[in-house]
Symmetry: C2
Subunit: 291 residues, 2 copies
């Protein structure tokens, strides 16, 4: 029977660290603050916003909703983002996406200051994934996978890892982050002819394809660590991952559940980025004073 790699203790550990940092920041007169930019009233946006606000408040981070009507002119939205870039009291900005069709997503991403890009959507953040340095933050879900591996003390160095999915939001950055942690990574995707061989051969298997039942017993082998990033819904409305849990769990060494796995950690990573951005802003301010 596999060890179940629950997200909750990982999120809790991140939360404890955040609380300590938030205390220090408050002693310095700084309340780390996340601005959540929402255009319109989409249900999924409202749900994500609610979760983010709740997680912020649980660790003493302030969350501010910045809302625009569904038909906001692009210039007005950009001006709003620029104002948040300039406001020293705002440390992180989360823009709920996808945006309405009349808004150009790339222009929006380019407008946001990388140092406030706690969701990892700017070029500065993508470059940071490649180089491990610079402004910006790793995409939250990709980093959540790494946080789970770290928390459960799963060694990446020299491990064979296979990542299923090559999206810019999860699959590709997770592949690069694992490589930069010295794993030997194979990336599979929709054009891969044979996924099961590299999947079975991996010591760490990450599935971020967004397809229920994609990873079955033919894709796994004893001793594996399986990280299931998928969030899918069955026709009965049940939330499931990419992995056929009942088939896979008896075979592998450890597996993240869905729900209660990666998704549980992602929001904590987002909020930890806000705290980190606030810490950096204080450090930069201190350095300026000392000059």
């Amino acid at each position: 029977m596999a060890e179940i790699l629950k997200g909750a203790p990982v999120a809790e550990a991140l939360g404890e660290k955040m609380k300590r940092d938030v205390e220090s920041l408050k002693d310095a007169g700084v309340t780390p603050t996340l601005a959540i930019v929402r255009v319109g009233e989409k249900g999924s946006d409202l749900a994500y916003e609610k979760g983010a606000v709740k997680r912020c408040e649980s660790v003493g981070v302030a969350a501010r909703r910045v809302t625009f009507p569904e038909n906001v002119p692009q210039d007005e939205l950009l001006a709003g983002i620029e104002a948040l870039n300039a406001e020293t009291g705002v440390h992180g900005v989360l823009i709920l996406r996808p945006l309405p069709e009349h808004i150009d997503d790339e222009t929006v991403r380019r407008t946001l200051a990388p140092k406030k890009d706690v969701d990892g959507i700017t070029d500065g953040s993508l470059a940071a994934v490649m180089s491990g340095r610079g402004a910006g933050f790793y995409p939250c879900t990709a980093q959540a996978c790494m946080e789970i591996l770290d928390y459960y003390k799963i060694e990446c160095k020299s491990a064979r890892a296979t990542v299923i999915g090559a999206s810019l939001v999860v699959g590709l950055p997770t592949t690069v982050l694992l490589t930069n942690r010295f794993a030997t990574v194979t990336n599979c995707h929709i054009f891969t002819k044979d996924v099961s061989t590299p999947a079975r051969g991996a010591e760490i298997l990450v599935s971020a394809a967004g397809k229920a039942g994609l990873v079955g017993k033919n894709h796994v082998s004893p001793g594996q660590i399986v990280i299931d990033v998928g969030i899918n819904f069955t026709s009965e409305g049940k939330m499931v991952g990419d992995v056929s849990f009942d088939e896979v769990e008896p075979v592998v060494k450890a597996i993240t559940p869905v729900p209660g796995g990666v998704g549980t950690v992602t929001t904590s990573v987002l909020v930890s980025h806000v705290v980190e951005a606030a810490v950096k802003s204080v450090t930069v301010a201190d350095a300026s004073v000392q000059e």
Copy 2:
């Protein structure tokens, strides 16, 4: 006997395209111009500079040497780069690196405007590797590998590819570029326990490790395409790649030689970026006029 994938015809094809673009630009009154920034008088810098100037001139691109003394203060170098960023007559800037130790490489990279970063060193260029869009240019050697595959009509989509080497300059960007062309890529590096299995299993094998003799007959299999990015020198001063050519050539389907392979294409890619930057600058100027 393997087909030898020479770089010269690839460079020539790139050159033909460039010449046509340069003609059009000259008709519009624009001479595409590369500024080469050199600090000090290092032999390897002078050699690279000479090659770049020669390649520029062969296709009608102007090359300007911008030199600083070895002990130039960092601020002065940064001011020089900022002046080149601002100068509309300069379309691309190549900074010869590594820089002297008193200069902070990251600060220099951040100072350069991504739209003039024809060598692919800025965050904007790294982000472009990940996303396939945005400002900046792919690192030249990584793109040279892709140009060779394209010229010789080697299909990347659904191909199994293995890249040996995870450097930010070649191995990692080549891995990501191949992934974004829908290859199924495994990246190996110094911490990979068994390189030969993924190397042998690949349809396209790219070695960018910088170690002579790394890829021998145990790393290859019939039908493979081998791209040898390595540039190493034997104790006798002979230039060799990562691949033991005499062992590997009889086994595989096709292989790039060293010298005369990837290296031959790299400078052409650099110059093609200058032309591309000049074309973009004209397009942007046109768009401004039309507004």
